[in-house]
Subunit: 131 residues, 10 copies
Amino acid sequence: MIRTGVVHAELARHLAGLRHTEHFVVCDSGLPFADVPCVDLGYRYGAASFADVVSTVIPAVVIEASWISEQMPQLNPDNLAVLYDVGLTPESIDHDEFKARALTAKFAVRTGEATFYANVICRAGVPFDSP
Amino acid sequence: MIRTGVVHAELARHLAGLRHTEHFVVCDSGLPFADVPCVDLGYRYGAASFADVVSTVIPAVVIEASWISEQMPQLNPDNLAVLYDVGLTPESIDHDEFKARALTAKFAVRTGEATFYANVICRAGVPFDSP
Amino acid sequence: MIRTGVVHAELARHLAGLRHTEHFVVCDSGLPFADVPCVDLGYRYGAASFADVVSTVIPAVVIEASWISEQMPQLNPDNLAVLYDVGLTPESIDHDEFKARALTAKFAVRTGEATFYANVICRAGVPFDSP
Amino acid sequence: MIRTGVVHAELARHLAGLRHTEHFVVCDSGLPFADVPCVDLGYRYGAASFADVVSTVIPAVVIEASWISEQMPQLNPDNLAVLYDVGLTPESIDHDEFKARALTAKFAVRTGEATFYANVICRAGVPFDSP
Amino acid sequence: MIRTGVVHAELARHLAGLRHTEHFVVCDSGLPFADVPCVDLGYRYGAASFADVVSTVIPAVVIEASWISEQMPQLNPDNLAVLYDVGLTPESIDHDEFKARALTAKFAVRTGEATFYANVICRAGVPFDSP
Amino acid sequence: MIRTGVVHAELARHLAGLRHTEHFVVCDSGLPFADVPCVDLGYRYGAASFADVVSTVIPAVVIEASWISEQMPQLNPDNLAVLYDVGLTPESIDHDEFKARALTAKFAVRTGEATFYANVICRAGVPFDSP
Amino acid sequence: MIRTGVVHAELARHLAGLRHTEHFVVCDSGLPFADVPCVDLGYRYGAASFADVVSTVIPAVVIEASWISEQMPQLNPDNLAVLYDVGLTPESIDHDEFKARALTAKFAVRTGEATFYANVICRAGVPFDSP
Amino acid sequence: MIRTGVVHAELARHLAGLRHTEHFVVCDSGLPFADVPCVDLGYRYGAASFADVVSTVIPAVVIEASWISEQMPQLNPDNLAVLYDVGLTPESIDHDEFKARALTAKFAVRTGEATFYANVICRAGVPFDSP
Amino acid sequence: MIRTGVVHAELARHLAGLRHTEHFVVCDSGLPFADVPCVDLGYRYGAASFADVVSTVIPAVVIEASWISEQMPQLNPDNLAVLYDVGLTPESIDHDEFKARALTAKFAVRTGEATFYANVICRAGVPFDSP
Amino acid sequence: MIRTGVVHAELARHLAGLRHTEHFVVCDSGLPFADVPCVDLGYRYGAASFADVVSTVIPAVVIEASWISEQMPQLNPDNLAVLYDVGLTPESIDHDEFKARALTAKFAVRTGEATFYANVICRAGVPFDSP
């Protein structure tokens, strides 16, 4: 079995398949995103938590930009702190713009999080430097 | 959105589709069960935990019998206690027999549990009484 | 087997998979809605009835808005009463607008109801409060 | 729309496709039958009822033989009476034999019936006579 | 086996699945209609005949409107008579408009008919009255 | 469009794909043959007729052997005469053996024939001679 | 096995399924036509030849119009002669228009032909006359 | 486009995917081989010829063993000569054994060859030497 | 097994299926190209290398035009040299135009290359001359 | 994009999905293993090399047992050394037994290795200890 990191087969496939500038979403239990392929980790309201999934997934990939809804800083500061903890510095955007952008994601990871605006969109960066 | 209970679409489908005497498995991250359809909730070693998934899933269904590996009482008493807490009284069987029986399950729920022998096989009962 | 509630596997899957603001339809035997995924419960004209299906499905989910055709209050007051009984306060809209909106639903539940305008579109709400 | 009879598309397909000596099952919510294709009409415990589904389906087809579990006459006489009402004269067989025979069916119609042994296996006959 | 009526499984499925205002086509061997799902009953030029298929299919359903190409009355009066015999009163429209409308059908029934303009588009009506 | 012969796309595919010694079946509306791929031409009891389908299909292919049920000569002499008319000289075999052999067919053509034992199994021959 | 004509199962299916005014293409090894369903008969440069495939396929169907690229008469007169031999009188059109029209074909037959502009688009006609 | 060799996409896929000791078949138009994946190059009796297909395919691969039916040397010496010309030295085996062995092939290439026993089974060898 | 050249089954299929003017891409590990079918050869950063894959694939096909991003000459001269070595003379275009054009490719070959702008788009030419 | 390790999406999926005691294979270009799901990394003879793929894949997983063919130590000592370098201590078994065991693998990774007996079967171990 795999030594460490993401042990979920479909999620591991999505992460290894990310290419430069592609987007993905980690979201709460309620964010609508239509036909975006979804790895569903939420099994009850509250679990899997947004904080724990973010803390597992984000360190495995290089992120060059990220976005949150503008309500998140006020309504969900604890989960925003988690994003900072894993090294993200997300840009706040209008919630409708956030939902429209979420539709362009290559995949989404749905948690069971049952708090407001616990969602982040990430854009993949490259793990090697220019010469 | 659904009010309470299991919020995972595929898991909800499996639970609602259970018929009398059919088996399902809740297991740790390592139990092999070949082609049994699998709802994979484990995303890192340790989460989703066996205890939390069992506590979510089992109360939703009627179980008329259940089985664990005979090593579980000694090597994983904490997770066994969880099974008792949700009302199961599992029978201990040989681990090879356990793995063979797991292959007959209609579906499995894989957690990220990273302790030994954290697995249970359940047989569905009926929620109505004989007259 | 599942203890109570919706015992239909595909319907349970659709309900557990609902996200905030997504729409679904419960309808009579004749409402056209093209390629919207459909759980078909109607097996003869009159059964499954709109009233009984509504009474089973709606209590399981949080609905934040709903719509009916403007003819329903006059032509089908009994079934409208059922909607009120389960806590809905649907808005009346033009029937053509109703049919167009039905095409945006994530899924539909078709009954065998054989009375006029026995249809409702529901928008999923969230089961947890803002802090 | 179709004038009368079975208004469920998949069920109509199964019935029109029946050939001489093929079996099908109408059953309660709990009968296990593995991979037999299933038209699922049950949406809550109690509905669709076995009696109403039997009364809709059986008159549409010619049945040359039928079977019930040997417990049905004593434990579910009301539903047995329904079978007689639609013209069946089912043979009582051992419940294990019944379940094994159910596995050979071409399709099954699952109701939401929540009483004991409300199941019947039917063998299709021919609607034209020898010359 | 089914007692009477349409004995073709796929055709029975399409008919039972018709909803109010949906269209279907019964046509000769040559009408082009691209990706419309097709039940193909024609096996040689001349059989199955348009007349016999129409006489089998139309009585099973409620039709609230129908259309033919404007050339049919002059070039194929015999098959037009068949349409009147089964109770249709089709409206004549331009052949190009006819072909465009055929593309919106939910399904088509292709016969082996080898005469000109033996085609009809039907719109499904409802089999129950307003109160 | 094709000039003459079999105008049914799937049936034409099956006939052109036949190889030496492979079997196919032309049958009445009731012959059971499980999962053998089926071209279904029957749309009502009586049509398409066994005689007309046989007269269309058989002349298109080389048949080196054929079988009927031993009851056919007595109970369905008219349709047997059709087989002779198209050049077949079928061997009579036990009906159960006939049904078992039908299961080995590469494909079947189901008619709407509503008379008894109107079935034939054909084995494909080669259309070129030994040198 | 089939007596004569087209012995390729998929090609026979396409030809028997042609309807009035539908297009198909017979082409050399290089013509691009994106997602048009393709029967690929070319296995090396030069075989199957355009001439032999045309001579096999075209006589089986009624063609009411056909098109070639305007370069064909000068650059590939031998293969043009083959088209005349099988009774076609193709219209010459601009090569870009030819390629655009090829995209509307119902199917294509790709040969291994390795000469320039060996391509023809055919429109299916009807094999029966107006009365 | 590819410079030379096999220009058929599916055939190229099969050849490049061959592994040591796997079998494939090149056959005439009539050899039966059930569900073995088939690249069908035959479009009329006589074309594609066995000789030309063998001469195209065999030089592209390493063959370590091959088999023909024992009737081939006497009844089809010309096509046997083709096999020798491309470097094969096939072993003659009983025709029934040949047909049974053909069922184990990974893929088959069907030609339009219309002579007797024009079939060969090849076993893939390795293109590099032991040290 | 195949004697030489491309031994990857899916890649061989794509190459043999190329038609005149169709595009394909060989790219580094990060180029985004959405739903273009992808043969993924990269298994770690650095392998398979762009240089080795280009040197294997390009000689197998005729290329009539090719494109690189305008940054490649300055930022990745070594890999550009590889393109010249296999006979390509790529045109430099704006990187955004490059990425847009990549979306029209018929397939892509993804390497594990971990240097900047190691991507080339190729347009297939024909391997035979005008007369 | 993923920071390090296996960048191949399908291979990452297979590795993350491994469960205790399941087998997988890393093999040369010629090992036959029928229908075992295969990640094909070989694109020419010699690349991807067995050594480099082994050195990438094996460190990512816990292996509790491994097997090679008994000829490998003598005929391919360099690649055997690679296995030791990544910490494996494979057991030598008869080559036919090796090939039979390979058929039970959950997946295989095919390289382009063109030397003899460069194959290893691995059995997944667990990354956490007994208490």
